[in-house]
Structure formats: C-alpha cells, structure tokens
Amino acid sequence: MTASPGHNKELAERAYRIRRNAVLMGEVQGQGYIAQALDIADVLAVAYFHAMRYRPDDPDWEGRDRFLLSNGHYAIALYAALIEAGIIPAEELETYGGDESRLPMSGMAAYTPGMEMSGGSLGLGLSIAVGKAMGLKRKGSDSRVYVLFSDGELDEGSVWEAIMAAAHHKLDNIIAIVDVNNQQADGPSTQVMGFEPLVDRLEAFGWHTQRVDGNDLDAVVKAFDAARDHGEPKPRMIIADTLMGKGVPFLEAREKNHFIRVEAHEWKLALDALDAGRLG
C-alpha cells in the first residue's frame, strides 16, 4: 500500500479505534499508561495497517514481520492495536489487567498472542531485535523486525550496546521506532538524562535515521516507507516525536501524565473527545 488520501483516512480511523480501545481498557482498571497509548496510536496504526505483514488468525506465522514492544508498560497500546488487527478477540478487552487475563498490565510474551517479548524491564527490546534480525537473515527470510522503545530507554546502556551491534552486523532488517514524548517516571526525559542531538548521535552510530512528528499520519507513513525502501545495509531508526494524551485535550494538558489516574467521570469525557476529533 502507498500513501493516498483514502488510505490515510482509513489509517486515521484505525488510530481512532486503537485510542478508543485503550481508553476502554484503561476504564476497566481505572488507571494506566493511557497518555502513552494515545501518543503512540498513530505509529501503531501505520505499523499494523500499512507496513507490517501478519495473519490475524495465525499470530506465529513464520512469514510475519516481528513487532517487539520493548517498553512493556505500553502494553495497553499494543493490545489496543492487536484487538483492532483481529489478533486478540475484541471481547477480551474487558479482561484487561484482571486475574487469568491474557492481557496483563505489562506486556509478556507467554501471555498474549502477537506479543513477541516480555518487556517490563526496560532496555531489553533492541538487543532481542538484534538476535531476531540475525536469525531471520540466517533463515533467508525477508521478514523485518520492528521494535518500539521509549526515549526514557535511551538512558539504558544496553540500548547503545544494541545500537552498536545492529550497525556492526549490518542488520538492515531492523526498523526501530523511538517514541519521544519527553516524559518518564521522574519527569521530562531530557531533564532526567539528556539524549539530544538524537539524529546526529544515531547517524554517527551508523543508523539510517529519520525524525518525524509521530502524530502526523502522513509523515509516519512516509517514514515507514523510506525506512523499508532504503538501500544501504544499515539498521533504520524512526524518531517519532509525539504528544502525551494526543486526541484528548484535557489529558494533553495534564502536566504529570507518565502514569495517570483518571477520575470515573473523565473516561466518558475522554471517549467524547476522541469522537469529536474523529468527526473533526
């Protein structure tokens, strides 16, 4: 598929539905990483409904592209996408975070169809992606490894080990996405531990690097296409600048939104805000 007004309209609808799924799951528990789910929904819509190859009824299909969620606390966002993609039945949404649920609050491979790794401890995903990319090349597979991690994970030395290793082993089948929402547990990421200039650093480390507005669907589609089509034997990084709480203005405006509590009456307000944005 290529970018077209009709296609991007479909992606916008997918992104809306991913956000809606996430808010509905958040309401089940009364709390959660809702602001992150809202910020990354556009990237997930492009990954699952534009870029990636998979079979909803066969999540372990050998020919699939692998999607690794390194930041396991974004599980609510990925579940929302997996439900929308038909990999997880929609009725399981109501089990989110509950006893015996396949949708635990942190993403774990053993629990959930379509979940390729357990990511609760941060800074693991890119290293696993390196091994998967090497393994796919060994098998002669043309499947790609998509890996999503957060700007906060750039604090972890292991991420930079993996960045070096991926370039050294010329793993051009890795497409990594870093969600730069500038928010981590103790405050703005750039204040917790400076990581800029990120483009310069990643290019110096040998990666094909693009920086886009992660909430601009058209820009995200073009970035995924360029990452896929790039000819050089380099791993590819998409730096996605995103807005916490995107699509729900009163959450966008909330200052401390790393892990938010939403008052009971606010869930309806959040859904209404998403609906308003969808119509707009």
């Binding site: 357990s118 390196v130 393994g135």
Partner: protein
C-alpha cells in the same frame, strides 16, 4: 604446577597469579579445549547451533567453533547484555545459541538479561562461562564465587558445574539436546582428565557415586570433585574411607540419589564446591535433607562469605580450604571432632 622461574635476585617467581592460571596439577593428564571441540562435533549434527561471545572467544575455547564455522559465529563485542538479548532473539527464531563469556560477567553484569529475555521467555539458550568460582588470581572482579546461587534462583534454569574434560565433552551434546535455558560452568584451555578412569557418564540431572566409602560422604561438583577424589586417595592411606557423590547438575538437583546416599547412617555428610558457602550446592543439599527429615552430621567445604584475595591460585586454594591438602585437613578434623 610448573617449575619455579627465578627472578634476577634469585627468588622464585610465582607465575600462577596470572588470570590464565591453569588448574591442572603437575603431571596431570589434560585435554585441550574440550568445550570447543565438543561444540564443533555437536554442530556437525545440529545445523541450528550458533555461537556468540562477548570478546572472549579465545578465552572460552569458542574460537575452535568460530574457526570451524565462521558463518555461524557472532562476535558481539565486550557487551554481555546485548549478547544475551541477541541469543534470546536467535533462539526465538529457532536457533540454539551457545553464548560464552566469563562467569562473573554473565551472572553479575547481565543477570537481568538472562533472567528476563532468556529464562522468563523460556528460550533455548546455552550460557557457557569460564573462570568459575576461584579459578583466577585476579581478585573479586574475575572470581565468580556467587554464580551458582544466582543462576539456581532463576525458575526453569538448568545449572551445571562439570568436573573435567571428560565431563565437558559429554555435557555439550547433552545440553544441546536439552530443550530450555542452561547455565554451564566451563574449565578451558588444558583441562584435566579425571573421570574417564571411573567409567563415568554425564547425564543432566543425575548425581553419581564415583567412589564408595564408609566414614564420610562428600557430595561435590565441578573442580571440587577432582580435588575430593585426590583427597580420598590420600586419606585411604590413613584408613579413612571417603565416598564421593558427584553432583554436577546443581539444578535440578538429583534429590533421589542424594537422599538415598545421605540417608545411609553412620557417615559424616560433607558438601564440597568451588563457590561461596552461601546459596550453592551446599545449601541446596542442606535444605533438601532438612525438608526430608534427614539430619546427619553435616559440614560444608566452600569459599567463605567474603571478597577473596588476589594472588597465586595454589596459595588461595590452600587459604580458602579448597586445595587437596586443605580438604584432607578439614575431613580429618571433622571426623576427629
């Protein structure tokens, strides 16, 4: 040990403090790089075997495999975290990675990666680590005195502490056949050859009586089985009868054999290991006996709960009680007491 080299002032130079100290005694039969050669043999049968190292290929004998199968070898640099994460990823794609480094760097530096990306995801990765316990004179940076305690604590991890070249040769195909994560300690370079004389066969999860005796039952693993067999031979001259039950699989422990042997009355029960007395084979056996209502006289031979000194290995092994002579002294004292 090698003959002393004299310094210009005529004093003997202690050369065994080198990091690459050999644990082979003078005149002891050895085999070169048993792990490397055994892995090459296993890899002939199993095309899914790949090798990774973190800048220690030559020092874990993995270079033998790398030379035989250069396209199945991944150099990951001095970066243990990405090496174990990548091993997990390769295993997820159907390969059987053998990942090597020193035991200290696997167990301490990359513990979370082994715990989360390998064990928690039940990936078929074989972690093979040189310099186990006190086999380096470089001080605590290189002395893996806690690795068995750490690895044993991880659910689903198989933990193996082989004794000699004979056992390493048999353990490599066995762990390649085994489905699931394995941590194996490694003796590398010129590795002593001992257990072949006893007709011993390695099996995962099995402890085996190597030598029977009536006064003491020593349950041991790794290097300490070799030393205990030497001690038993010496003590036999003093009419002290020592049984040696070799338990190379620390986890899962061979509970049936250990309970059967420790349940025979009249013997002092001693556990001997090249590891801190905290959390290794000794405490595993003690817990097993207590839970099953057995309370023989019980003692531990192992490294003290402290950061060990740097220096020449023979000196350190004597000081910390794991040399053959030190084992003889301890056993005699406990039998007299």
């Amino acid at each position: 040990m090698t003959k002393p080299v004299l310094t210009s002032s005529g004093k003997p130079r202690l050369t065994t403090s080198a990091m690459i100290a050999s644990i082979a005694g003078e005149g002891q039969r050895t085999k070169p790089a048993p792990f490397g050669h055994a892995l090459v043999a296993a890899a002939k049968e199993r095309p899914e075997i790949v090798g990774l190292t973190a800048d220690l290929g030559k020092y874990t004998d993995l270079h033998i495999f790398a030379q035989a199968y250069p396209d199945r070898f991944y150099q990951m640099g001095m970066a243990e975290q990405v090496m174990f994460g990548a091993a997990s990823g390769l295993a997820a794609e159907g390969f059987t990675p053998f990942a090597t480094t020193y035991a200290v760097f696997a167990s301490r530096r990359a513990y979370d990666f082994i715990h989360q990306t390998i064990a928690e995801e039940d990936r078929n990765v074989k972690i093979v680590c040189a310099l186990p316990g006190l086999t380096s004179g470089y001080g605590p940076s290189h002395q893996a005195t806690e690795d068995l305690a750490l690895m044993r604590a991880i659910p689903g991890m198989t933990v193996i502490d082989p004794c000699d070249a004979h056992e390493i040769e048999q353990a490599v195909p066995a762990i390649a056949d085994h489905r699931g994560p394995v941590y194996m300690r490694l003796l590398r370079g010129q590795v002593p050859l001992v257990l072949d004389e006893y007709g011993y066969r390695f099996e995962i999860g099995k402890a085996k009586v190597i030598r029977d005796g009536t006064d003491v039952l020593v349950i041991s693993s790794g290097l300490l089985t070799m030393r205990t067999l030497e001690a038993a031979a010496k003590l036999a001259a003093d009419k002290v009868s020592v049984a040696v039950l070799h338990a190379p699989t620390i986890k899962p422990l061979d509970t049936a054999t250990i309970l059967a042997e420790a349940g025979k009355t009249g013997r002092l029960v001693v556990v001997a290991e090249n590891h801190t007395v905290v959390g290794g084979l000794g405490e595993a056996v003690a817990g097993l006996l207590m839970r099953n209502g057995l309370s023989p006289r019980f003692r531990q031979i192992g490294l003290p709960d402290e950061f060990l000194a740097a220096g020449a290995l023979p000196t350190l092994h004597d000081r910390y009680g794991i040399s053959t002579d030190a084992i003889c002294t301890s056993l005699k004292a406990w039998l007299a007491g």
